[in-house]
Subunit: 537 residues, 2 copies
């Protein structure tokens, strides 16, 4: 049996009594009960979790959510009240039957086995294969779909943003306020990071997953100040030794110089905004980032920022930069950069030309595409809503289908041709070209021989039996590895940053033709031709 | 001070040591720290949580998520490590400072007060007003937005489905597998129910919120059977007393009769599918619902269902109905109904004509609109993805803005005109016509007098100062009630079903003109004319 080199076994975590996950749809419990009643609950079954089409019209999907699935399967157990409907009569089960069914169904949960695909998967290839007693493995349908669908969707969405901006620009995730509750927000942060984002604003995600957290200030911080007199503390010590100096006085003098350079009135920059900037700079002199669009970027935010940042420079500190959150972000970034360069030259502060410019405000794939076609000076981009809610396609259509019962292949026909399943337990292989690029993924029946490097393989197009293709692979990689065996998790779960590296490597190995965001060349997933498959139906 | 009759105070829940919610964005913590450093953390501040436009292009929004917000505010506390960035240097705060800041900021969290709007809100009216020490109330921004945005969005989406199908059709929520993790799924179920759905498939949502749970079987249940011989038990006792009879034999005879009536071949109906139906019927004889599209509705699923349901009838049981999950749901429902009527008449089983027909499969507003324009026989509709992910608009843009500091009105200007805030602490009133319909919502400054029933009120259009409107209301209802005072929650939280009733009543009071799903007449939210408001800016 061809099998990828899987991770090493590790001892099962002790099952803590009382720790139970009750997470799923009622109908899987009614089905489990009914299978138990007719004595079929122990029948061996194989399910595949897969999706049909890559999301967003793209050419790839990042498979994510695996660690949560493994933990769920590992901790899964039933109590006698699970599956109890809200209204006791609703499915007509008595208390006695429920206890019997729960115990009956789970008499050996250690029979469950799981094989898992790779980080970058294509439609129709199993992301996961779960085998074991029918009543148990069918109960896992909704939880596994729930844990994989959104995770993979948002990781893929994040990867598209990363591909769009290239490696230089830093990407921030800011989606917590628009996610589906606190947990939805955590998933959004975690899987955006795996997909290629650099930072999150979500504090808990930083703590739980080790994602770098960044953030400066909101508009309310700025509007909460009305005048310089509200600053209780007005001094700062220079870097190194030295007595604290009058920061406010210095910054007022810098404001005058900046306004003369920019030919702007010294009256206009809002004193409350400047007080807010000074207050923040006194607290974080080496991490000063200012939100400059509260009143007017050009006439207030930017002169105020430059005055405070140049004061910091005089005391030996370096500011980080500005954040733009409304209006024409591209034009404003060009203006900010020209002002920074002018200050750098006039006041002889070389680092000032390279201050960071951060942009947020409803950033989407569409407006990033426009931005990337033109000149701009943005270094950091924050994405919230359009990252975590995936408006271009807010769900990934993963399904979990029965492929084999008791060693016999099973199929689901459908009035919709695309919903008919590919029957039989399968293996999948990635065939590589001599230069190391994937050519296609080959689906075979579990009973069929594995393809071999250097030998010609015949394939046929799905749904178009007559179209044949001959491929000779320089290298063959089995895609499924065993991760869960007889109730035991194998291997040590990787850290979130390991998963991120793996996903990014996998993505960078994908040929450019399949990586395009719109109308990519479809990557092929093919079975061998049908003559070898006549035993299937 | 005009104030709605709020709920009664109730004693604060004891704060359990160690129970802390760390849920929010880093920048609110850096702001809190910085406000504390400059001694402004105790400054009194008022924030408003509101949205600008109703979602989905509609005329209303269901405000939901309040109970979670109240619980969050109530349990909110900080530890000395909150706000600690993943990389210690990232915001340049020392350990000592962090401890001081956390303690300093929260030295009196009991000063927080909260006022809350009504269930059906219009853009620009505060859903919530939170007042208290600046550093504390600004920390609540992300959590409150997170808890209100998705809850309100999905409740509103659910309400649109309800308005579309009318009161007769039952609506099922089936979205768990496409939600943002287990918690996203729970929120989806809870707020769909509040918006007007009748059932959920989500077991845990049923248990936690008392939502009726329903569900029957998936395709895998049916494809897991291959022949009648797999049925270990083949008998059923009739209703009342009597010996168990051979159910399988009876159902084979009924299949013959049904196929002759329908002029279909007796060979075609799949034996595995029939075995699955029989197995389910033996387990749930009074709750038999069959998924009939696994192989072919017309030639297999429907004849098999009728045979099993007529067998149940012979033994004194009544089946519930069928579920359709692919193809042309409308046409199939008409066909199912005609078959049920034919069986009812031919076999003299009156209830058979009224069997339930349930439909699912990617149901959206759009295909429901088409369905409702034509004749169909569907009684139950299941909605998953298009309910919980809200693809027509996957986020509600609630914002949380500072309106007052230290008694002074504050404004945020913006390069985008629509993002400029309405400054000042406000009250809002709903003005009613003599026949009890809402005319408009009036926004006034907190310091302004409340409008009185029977007295003419002047209003002006937002952003169009010259457009005046005179209104005389038969009834005036203040929209904000105090729910949280000096750290105490007032009143007892209503049950989920109470919240549902309130939302449904509120919706049914909204005039039809504002209830339309597309291009509704906008409901007006107006301030009094500007001469009275010159003190604002």
């Amino acid at each position: 049996r061809a099998q990828a080199a899987g991770p090493r076994p590790r001892p099962p975590a002790p099952r803590r009594p009382g720790v139970r996950v009750l997470f799923g749809d009622l109908y899987h419990y009614t089905m489990a009960h009914s299978l138990w009643r007719c004595g079929r609950h122990r029948t061996g079954a194989v399910f595949e979790l897969f999706f049909r089409d890559n999301p967003f019209g793209g050419g790839f999907t990042i498979f994510a959510g695996l660690q949560n699935c493994l933990s769920f399967i590992h901790s899964f157990s039933l109590s006698s009240t699970d599956g109890e409907p809200a209204e006791p009569g609703a499915v007509g089960v008595t208390e006695r039957e429920r206890v019997d069914a729960s115990c009956g169904v789970l008499d050996d949960p250690h029979l469950v086995e799981g094989r898992v695909g790779k980080a970058d998967e294509q439609g129709r290839v199993a992301l996961m294969e779960v085998s074991g007693p029918l009543a148990v493995v069918q109960l896992l349908e909704t939880p596994l779909l729930n844990l994989v669908n959104y995770a993979s969707l948002v990781a893929t969405n994040a990867a598209r943003f990363r591909l769009l901006v290239g490696p230089r620009i830093k990407l921030f995730e800011l989606g917590l306020r628009r996610a589906q509750g606190p947990d939805g927000g955590l998933s959004g942060s975690k899987y955006s990071y795996i997909g290629g984002f650099d930072y999150t604003s979500n504090l808990l995600a930083g703590k739980l997953y080790g994602i770098p957290v960044r953030g400066s200030m909101a508009h309310s911080y700025i509007t909460s100040f009305t005048s310089i007199s509200e600053l209780t503390f007005q001094t700062l010590k220079p870097v190194g030794d030295g007595a604290a100096v009058d920061f406010v006085g210095l910054s007022e003098r810098w404001l005058g110089r900046v306004c003369r350079l920019l030919e702007e009135s010294e009256e206009f920059p809002d004193a409350g905004e400047r007080a807010a900037f000074i207050s923040f700079a006194l607290c974080y002199p080496s991490n000063f980032v200012a939100l400059v669009d509260t009143y007017s970027v050009r006439r207030s935010g930017l002169p105020n920022f430059c005055a405070v940042a140049l004061t910091l420079d005089e005391l030996g500190y370096r500011a980080i930069g500005v954040r733009l959150d409304s209006g024409d972000l591209r034009q404003q970034s060009l203006h900010c950069r020209s002002v920074f360069r002018a200050c750098s030259q006039t006041f002889e502060v070389p680092w000032f030309a390279n201050l960071s410019i951060m942009a947020s405000n409803n950033i989407s794939e569409e407006n990033l595409k426009e931005l990337q076609c033109q000149e701009h000076e943005i270094d950091y981009i924050g994405v919230g809503t359009n990252l975590v809610t995936c408006p271009l396609q807010p769900s990934l259509g993963c399904v979990y289908k029965l492929t084999e019962v008791n060693g016999k292949a099973r199929i689901k026909l459908s009035e919709d041709q695309s919903k008919t399943t590919l029957p039989g337990r399968k293996n999948s292989y990635r065939l590589y070209s001599p230069d190391g690029h994937p050519l296609l993924d080959l689906l075979t029946l579990h009973s069929e021989e594995a393809p071999r490097a250097g030998e010609e393989v015949q394939c046929c197009a799905l749904g178009r039996k007559m179209e044949r293709l001959q491929v000779t692979a320089a290298n063959v990689e089995p895609l499924l590895s065993v991760y869960f065996e007889r109730g035991q998790l194998l291997g040590t779960p990787p850290s979130v940053s390991d998963v991120r590296s793996r996903a990014q490597t996998s993505l960078s190995n994908l040929p450019h033709a399949h990586r395009g965001l719109d109308h990519p060349v479809p990557y092929q997933v093919l079975p061998p031709p049908p003559p070898r498959r006549t035993t299937l139906l």
